[in-house]
Symmetry: C2
């Protein structure tokens, strides 16, 4: 087991990474104060991992209720959130309850937001079961739900007490979701970790074959990068850089997800295509060479990810991007690459340049 500490003062917490961790009662003994837990999971994950989790909790003296929600990004809404509140209140959960998220990013975001807002906040443990959620949404404390007018528009910052990334759960992950997770791993390399990027390039076949060592390294290094960034900018208030850099490709990607209907493109797939757009724009601004852009594109292709966005006119992309939270006082702020391994936030790109960069990647 590898353990990282995310350093956030009174809100610091550990991320444990390794095989078989979900079933280790001593991890729960350490972090659950009361005698009850409330597990939130979905109908894909529940048949695989709910019984072993409940058994481990029982061994730790913790009695657990569970709510099993339908699967999918389309479920990350007010209706599911209300179902969580209703069940927790009916079960008379009080403020000593610990909420446990067992599933991917959708479950983690919703369960975390429910924990943040149930009786003004209760403790929360993340057990991410996808590569994407292990390297991304389980670190950083962002929780929330979607709104018909935009993704993640309602939410809170709420740090977990502990994250358990059990690499055994990746054995049952569909290929397409494995690739989507790799998009975020590649992102950490592109924005701040050239050594990680080189390792991904050389070990891509092993990662795609789910080699446990390669995956453990990728998860640990990704979480370390994210934890470093989050520790320096917990509430995303930095004027330049900071947490915003984690959004490389995300503003373009959100436009794809919104236009396709949430859930039709996986988040990581949209980020891959969005990152290629960001790379092309960085090239137009004179920061990346042709070879750099080809390197980015080849890496995503090798990970079996899309390198072109949904086909629509570039102006429509811009419209959808204007709904993104990265708009400040009406100006579009984008994360771009100063070079491979170094990202910056930028609002100097002209509308024409942005449209050209998009146009080159969506037809």
């Amino acid at each position: 087991m590898r353990t990282l500490n995310v350093s956030l003062g009174a809100r610091s917490y550990d991320i444990h990474i390794g095989p078989g961790l979900l079933q280790q009662p001593e991890l729960y003994l350490r972090q659950i104060r009361g005698s009850r837990a409330f597990i939130i999971t979905n109908e894909i994950v529940a048949p695989l991992y709910l019984a072993p989790l409940k058994a481990a909790l029982a061994s730790a003296g913790v009695q657990a209720d569970a709510l099993v929600l339908p699967d999918g990004e389309s479920q990350k809404n007010q209706g599911s959130l209300s179902a969580i509140y209703d069940k927790m209140l009916s079960a008379r959960c009080d403020r000593t309850i610990t909420v446990i998220a067992l599933g991917g990013g959708v479950i983690g975001d919703m369960a975390g937001f429910a924990a943040a807002t149930y009786q003004r906040g209760v403790p929360f443990i993340q057990i991410p079961t996808t590569l994407l959620s292990q390297v991304d949404s389980s670190v950083g404390g962002k929780t929330g739900i979607n709104h018909p007018l935009g993704k993640n528009m309602i939410g809170a910052f709420w740090q977990p007490k502990m994250v358990i990334a059990d690499t055994d759960t990746l054995r049952t992950l569909p290929d397409r979701e494995l690739s989507a997770g790799l998009a975020e791993v590649i992102k950490y390399g592109l924005i701040r970790d050239l050594a990680l990027l080189e390792l991904i390039e050389s070990r891509m076949p092993a990662l795609l074959q789910r080699d446990p060592d390669a995956l453990t390294f990728a998860i640990e290094r990704s979480c370390t990068n994210k934890a470093d960034v989050v520790a320096g900018d917990e509430f995303e208030t930095a004027e330049h850089g900071g947490r915003a850099l984690l959004n490389l490709g995300h503003t373009f990607g959100h436009a794809i997800e919104a236009a396709a209907g949430y859930g039709n493109w996986l988040h990581g797939e949209a980020v891959a295509a969005g990152t290629v757009m960001a790379a092309k724009l960085s090239q137009r601004l004179g920061w990346l060479s042709d070879e750099d852009v080809a390197r980015v594109t080849n890496l995503f292709s090798a990970a079996r990810l899309p390198v072109k966005g949904l086909t629509m006119v570039p102006e429509r992309y811009l419209e959808l991007m204007a709904h993104d939270k990265k708009v400040r006082d009406g100006r579009l702020r984008l994360v771009l690459l100063k070079r491979i391994g170094e990202a910056i936030t930028d609002d100097s790109a002209s509308r024409a340049d942005i449209l050209e960069a998009i146009g080159g990647c969506c037809a």
Copy 2:
């Protein structure tokens, strides 16, 4: 103008108290960073104070949208919250927006929770327009909405950037609401401020006649007491004492509010009757004398507040109290009076004693 600072580290803020403050642009200039504000108010308050507030904001260079909700505790629900999110998103409010609550506790709680959860949290200014909200809900950062299964069950801690308690707004307050506000002022005296209690006893006629000096003193002293308590226990995590002491009479009172239907008893009215129950229970435990209980009862009577609860069997009270957040690991924790001017949290009272104390005040 009197100004108090609530000392909460990075989340510290000022409370300004005095006449005419709502219309002073310089207060807004100091606290609003962006160029836009979103005002949340209700249909009682809007005709009185929305136009002057908008004018003051415009003088400060801030353009404000507003949402006017129906009045009443019954509106403090998911439906109103969704209406706020919908309007803010339709108006394309981004993360530089400042939310302003203009109204009583219901508006403050809902607007604060909307601010806490809109795009994971935006700045928030409180302009409480009732005595209750000026002395209670505007200090401490508690925000939230009710759920059909319990009051304030969904919420967050979210501190305002500034509170403006404009005493001129109390001129239009109905008598019954003035009295309800006095219940909380009396509470501060009972739990920790004997000098305030004696002043209220001697100046009750002036308070009921809305004497500006008497009110300003009562508001400032109440806020000081609350701010002191909150600074020592921001997230209500103290095992003994701490913020919980502010709930004197509230657990009994919540049972009255729940049984009567939220909004039929004013919160302060339920707290008054609930505090008499707490005083009687404190007497049964040997801490208060007959004279002490009579002093508490007389004070609420003088403030034109009820000293008996809703008529129902004491067992029903207990059932409703078990839904309250003050239950920890299944045990009912009550705030009781060790003596007049000193409250404690206690879970030693027997079921029989609690039932007897309730029975003496609800028939």
